[in-house]
Amino acid sequence: MKHVYPFAALVGQDDMKQALLIAAIDPLIGGVLVFGDRGTGKSTAVRSLAALLPPMQAVKSCPYQCDPQQQSSACPYCKGSRKRQSITVAVPVVDLPLGATEDRVLGALDLQKALREGVKAFEPGLLAKAHRGFLYVDEVNLLEDHLVDLLLDVAASGENLIEREGLSLRHPARFVLVGSGNPEEGELRPQLLDRFGLSIDVKTPMDLETRLEVLKRRDAFDQDPVAFCAHYESQQQALQALIVKARASLASVALPDEVMRYIAQLCMKLGTDGLRGELGLMRAARVLSAMREHSETSIQDVIDVAPSVLSHRLRRDPLEESASASVIARALRDMANA
C-alpha cells in the first residue's frame, strides 16, 4: 500500500485542520469548503483523513459500506440479503475529479452484467463509494454547475435517487463534502456557499521557519515514508482517540441558554440569511466543546468556530472591501464590549 502523508504531521493551517476534525466528528455539520492559495496542503490534508479516522464496521460486500448496526432502509443490497457479515474497513475518502461525468458520480447501468448476463443491474458510482466517508472535490469552483447542484442535493438528503436508463432505485449516500478551490479562478454561487457547513480561508505561510518546517517534513516523508509515519504514529493515535471520545461525548454536551442567546445575537448582528447560520454555529460549537472535553458549550467555543461557520454566510455587498473574517471579528469584539 502506498503511504499517505500523516494528518498529524501537517504544519500550521490550524483552522483547516480544526474544521476537518469537526466534520469528522459530526458529519451532519454539512461539508467543508477550503478556499485559498495553491500548494497550501489542502489536498494533502483531506487525503490524509482516511488514515486518521478510526476504521468502521461495514456489511461485507455491500457496495455502499452500510453500517451493520443500523437496519438501513434505503440500501438495496442490505434490504435483500438476510445474512449480514460485518467487516472492518477504512473510512472512504473519495477524490472526485473535475471532469467526472454524471454517470461516474451517480452510478449507471452495469454494462458488463447487462451484456454478459442480460441482467439489468446498477453499477454504483462515486457517491456510493463515498457513503459514510468523505467526498473531496478539488477546484470545486470549476466544477460544472449541474454536478455541484447534484452533489449538494445528495449531501443534504443523504440519499442518491436514480431514475435513468430504466433503473429506478435509491441508495444511501451520506458523506461529508469537502470542496477546495482558488477564488481567483472563479467564485461559487452564494446559494452553494451557504450549503457548506464550514468555510476556511487558507493562505500560504509566508514566514521562513514555517515554510522550512514544511519542506523538511515533506522531504523526510519522501525519503522514508515508513519511518516518517511511524514517527507520527503516536500523535495520529492521540488524534484518533480524540475523535472517538468526542463522538461518544457529543450527545451529552449541554448547550446553556446564555450560549444559545449569544449565538442568536451574533447572527442577528451579522445579518446572516435564514437560520442555517445559527444551527451550524450551535452544532460546530458543541463539537468543539466535545473535542475540548467540556461538559457544556461555552461562549469561547462559539467564538472560536464563528469565523469558519459564518464567514461565507454573510450577506456581502460585492463592492465591500473588507474581508468577511474581519467583519466577524468586529462583531465579536462589539459583543464582548457590550
Binding site: K2, D37, R38, G39, T40, G41, S43, R47, D95, P97, L98, G99, A100, T101, E102, A108, L109, L111, Q112, A114, L115, R116, G118, K120, D138, E139, L142, E144, H146, E165, G166, P183, E184, E185, G186, E187, R189, P190, T204, P205, M206, L208, R211, L212, V214, L215, K216, R218, D219, D222, Q223, P318, L319, E321
Partner: protein, 621 residues
C-alpha cells in the same frame, strides 16, 4: 579525464534545458515533469526527440492522443472486443500503462480541462512524469495552472531559445536514480532553497519541494559522474543553478541585493569558493545579467521586503558544521552566492516573461470555459450527456449510450440471425448533447487620458464590479482595456472573479495623451482572439474621440485621427459579424469626432458626459 567530466558537468549546470531534462530522468516521479512553452520549431523537436528516446530506454513513454477522452485515460471496458467476443474485456487506461514512465502531451494548451484535472490528480499519486508541450500564444490561455503547478520545471522559448540539449548516459542516470535516496541534504541547503523561494516571490510551497528533490537528484548525478571524495562543485553553484531553473520562471520579483550584500559577496569570494558557472555565465551573458540587476535595482517597490529580509538574516544564527571540507560558509553567504549565481543564469527580460507566471494563472483561468472553436451548435462544446434522437449532421451518435439503451431489451427482441450480438432499434439511438456555452464577455475600452480620466476610470471600475457581482448568475465575463500616454493596455483579461478584478484594477493611473488608434487596434486583435475561443463579445468604448497619438505612439493630431479612423473601420468588420459595439461619448457636448468614429466602426453612439457606473451596467446588460 576528470577534466572532461568536470566540463560536462559545468555545461549541464549552465544549461537549464539540459539540467531539467536530466534531472527529470533521475527523479521522474518526484519532479512531476516539464512544462515546455514553445511552438513547433526545429529547436523544440531537436531536443524533444532525443529526450524521449532516452526516456524510452529508462521506462515506458506514452504519447497522449489529441482526441483522448476520459475513458482512454482511466481505462474501462473495451467495447469492440467485448462485443466481438461476447465477454467483457477491460482495457487499461493510459494513466495505468504509463506507470513510472513519461507521458508526452502535445498541444497541451488544447487539453480539455477535465482531462487536465484527471492528469493533475494522477500526478499527485506520483506514478509518472509529464512532458507538456504548450503551444499557446502570448495572449492565449495556456494550460490550466492546477496542472502546471504540479510540474517542477517550466521552460519556454523565451529563456531557452537555441540552447542545446546535452543528455547524460543511460547508466549514469540509472545509477543516480538508485543513489538519490541516500543523499543527505544539509540544513543550510534547506534554508537556502526556502529563503530563495521567498526572495523570488514564489509562494507556492510546491516549488521549494521540487527544488529540494531536484537538488537531491543533482547531487546524486554529481556523485555518479565523479565518484571521488572531493565534490567537484560547490553547493552554492548547484543551488544557484536549481534556483534559476525552478524559481526563475515562477518568479514574481527579483531578489534585491541589499546594500551590505555586495560587500559580503566580495569578502567571501576571496577564498577559492567562488562559483565558477556564476563567473563564466556572467561573462558570457554579461550584458543581460547586468541589465537584470539594474532592473532589480529599479524595482523600488520591493524595498521594504528586502529590508525585512536582511533583518531576519541578521537574527539567524549562522548555520554551522554542515560542510566538512570547505571553509565553513555561513548560511547567508551560501544564500547570497546561490542567489547571485541564479540571477546570473537567468536571462534578461525574464521577469517580463515570468510576469507571465503571474498572469499565467489569470490567463488560464479563462481557459476553463472555452469551447475551442467558433460556435457550431450541436457538435461541439462540453459534453452534457446524451439524449434520445437520430444521429445526423447536427448531432453525433453516442455509441456507448446507444448500446446501453439496447441491452435491456435483447431478450425480448427476436434473436438476430447474422451472428451480431446486439439488436439495435431506432428507439435505442442516443446522440451526444453538448453544452453550448453562450458566454458573453463585456470589454470596456477606457480612455484614461486627460483630466477627466480619473473620474471615468473610477466609474468603469465601479461598473466592472457591479457587472461581476451580477455574473454569479449570468456566468459572464468582463475585461478592461485602458489607453493613455502612448499605448493601450489590457488591464484586466476576461475574468469572472471579483476578487481578481478588484486586485488588478486597484491601482490604475490616469492622464496623458490619447492613443486611440492603438487602443482600437488592440481591441480588434483581442476580440478576434476571444471570439476564436468561442466567446461572444461586446465592447463599450468610453472616449471623446479626440485622438492625438498615432498608432506608432508619436504625437500629432492629424495622423492620430487618421489612424484611429482606419482602425475603427477594421473594427466595423467585427461589428458586422456579431459583436456588439457601443461608443460612449464622454465629452461634455456631443463631439463630432466621437460621432464619426462611432459611425466608422458601426457602433451605437451614446452621449454620457458623466458616465456613471449604473449607466454603464445598464448599457452592458
Amino acid at each position: 579525464m576528470s577534466c572532461v567530466v568536470q566540463q560536462k558537468f559545468e555545461a549541464l549546470l549552465a544549461s537549464p534545458l539540459s539540467l531539467a531534462a536530466n534531472l527529470l530522468l533521475v527523479d521522474p516521479l518526484g519532479l512531476g515533469g516539464i512544462h515546455c512553452k514553445a511552438r513547433v520549431s526545429p529547436w523544440r523537436s531537436g531536443w524533444v526527440k532525443p529526450f524521449l528516446s532516452l526516456a524510452a530506454r529508462l521506462g515506458p513513454v506514452i504519447e497522449l492522443a489529441s482526441h483522448a477522452d476520459e475513458q482512454s485515460l482511466r481505462g474501462g471496458i473495451d467495447w469492440a472486443s467485448s462485443l466481438h467476443q461476447g465477454k467483457a474485456y477491460v482495457e487499461q487506461g493510459v494513466l495505468a500503462r504509463v506507470n513510472s514512465g513519461l507521458l508526452k502531451i502535445g498541444m497541451a494548451d488544447r487539453l480539455n480541462p477535465s482531462l487536465a484535472a484527471l492528469i493533475g490528480q494522477a500526478l499527485d499519486q506520483r506514478g509518472f512524469a509529464c512532458l507538456l508541450l504548450d503551444e499557446a500564444l502570448e495572449d492565449e490561455p495556456g494550460i490550466p495552472v492546477f496542472l502546471s503547478c504540479r510540474l517542477a520545471f517550466w521552460i519556454g522559448e523565451i529563456n531557452l531559445l537555441n540552447t542545446k540539449l546535452e543528455l547524460l548516459g543511460e547508466n549514469d542516470l540509472l545509477d543516480a536514480r538508485n543513489m538519490r535516496n541516500s543523499i543527505s541534504i544539509s540544513p543550510a541547503a534547506f534554508r537556502v532553497l526556502g529563503e530563495a523561494a521567498l526572495a523570488f516571490g514564489v509562494d507556492d510551497l510546491r516549488a521549494p519541494q521540487f527544488a529540494l528533490r531536484a537538488y537531491r537528484a543533482l547531487k546524486a548525478l554529481a556523485l555518479v559522474m565523479h565518484p571521488v571524495s572531493k565534490p567537484m562543485h560547490d553547493e552554492e553553484a548547484l543551488l544557484g543553478a536549481l534556483i534559476a531553473l525552478v524559481y526563475g520562471p515562477r518568479a514574481r520579483r527579483l531578489p534585491q541585493p541589499s546594500e551590505a550584500e555586495p560587500a559580503r559577496e566580495d569578502a567571501m569570494q576571496s577564498p577559492q569558493s567562488s562559483p565558477k558557472p556564476d563567473r563564466e555565465s556572467a561573462e558570457s551573458e554579461g550584458e543581460p545579467a547586468k541589465a537584470e540587476r539594474d532592473q532589480a535595482n529599479d524595482d523600488q517597490g520591493q524595498e521594504g521586503l528586502s529590508r525585512q529580509e536582511s533583518v531576519t538574516k541578521q537574527n539567524d544564527p549562522p548555520a554551522e558544521g554542515d560542510r566538512e571540507e570547505a571553509p565553513p560558509l555561513s548560511f547567508e553567504q551560501v544564500l547570497a552566492i546561490a542567489v547571485g549565481a541564479a540571477q546570473a543564469l537567468l536571462p534578461a527580460g525574464l521577469l517580463a516573461s515570468s510576469a507571465l507566471a503571474a498572469t499565467a494563472m489569470a490567463r488560464s483561468s479563462s481557459s476553463m470555459g472555452r469551447s475551442g472553436s467558433r460556435s457550431n451548435a450541436g457538435l461541439r462544446g462540453r459534453s452534457l450527456g446524451v439524449r434520445e434522437g437520430t444521429p445526423g449532421p447536427r448531432s453525433r451518435l453516442h455509441v456507448l449510450a446507444t448500446i446501453r439503451a439496447a441491452v435491456p431489451w435483447q431478450r425480448l427482441r427476436a434473436p438476430v440471425s447474422n451472428g451480431a450480438l446486439l439488436r439495435i432499434e431506432r428507439s435505442d439511438l442516443r446522440v451526444h448533447r453538448y453544452e453550448q456555452r453562450d458566454q458573453l464577455t463585456t470589454v470596456f475600452v477606457v480612455d484614461a487620458s486627460g483630466s477627466a480620466a480619473l473620474h471615468r476610470l473610477a466609474e468603469v471600475k465601479g461598473a466592472v464590479e457591479l457587472l461581476l457581482a451580477q455574473c454569479y448568475v449570468r456566468r459572464d465575463q468582463v475585461a478592461v482595456i485602458a489607453f493613455r500616454l502612448d499605448q493601450a493596455q489590457l488591464l484586466l483579461p476576461p475574468t469572472r472573479s471579483l476578487t481578481r478584478a478588484k486586485r488588478q484594477l486597484a491601482a490604475l493611473p490616469g492622464g496623458g495623451g490619447t492613443p486611440l488608434a492603438s487602443a482600437l487596434a488592440l481591441t480588434s486583435k483581442l476580440i478576434t482572439n476571444w471570439r476564436r475561443q468561442g466567446q461572444r463579445i461586446q465592447a463599450i468604448v468610453l472616449s471623446d474621440g479626440k485622438a492625438n497619438i498615432d498608432i506608432e505612439g508619436k504625437p500629432g493630431r492629424a495622423k492620430a485621427m487618421h489612424d484611429a479612423h482606419h482602425q475603427a473601420k477594421l473594427l466595423a468588420k467585427l461589428a458586422l459579424t456579431g459583436s456588439r459595439l457601443v461608443w460612449v461619448d464622454t465629452a461634455p457636448r456631443p463631439s463630432s469626432e466621437a460621432q464619426s468614429m462611432a459611425q466608422a466602426m458601426r457602433a451605437s453612439y451614446m452621449l454620457l458626459p458623466y458616465a456613471n457606473a449604473q449607466g454603464l451596467v445598464a448599457l452592458a446588460s
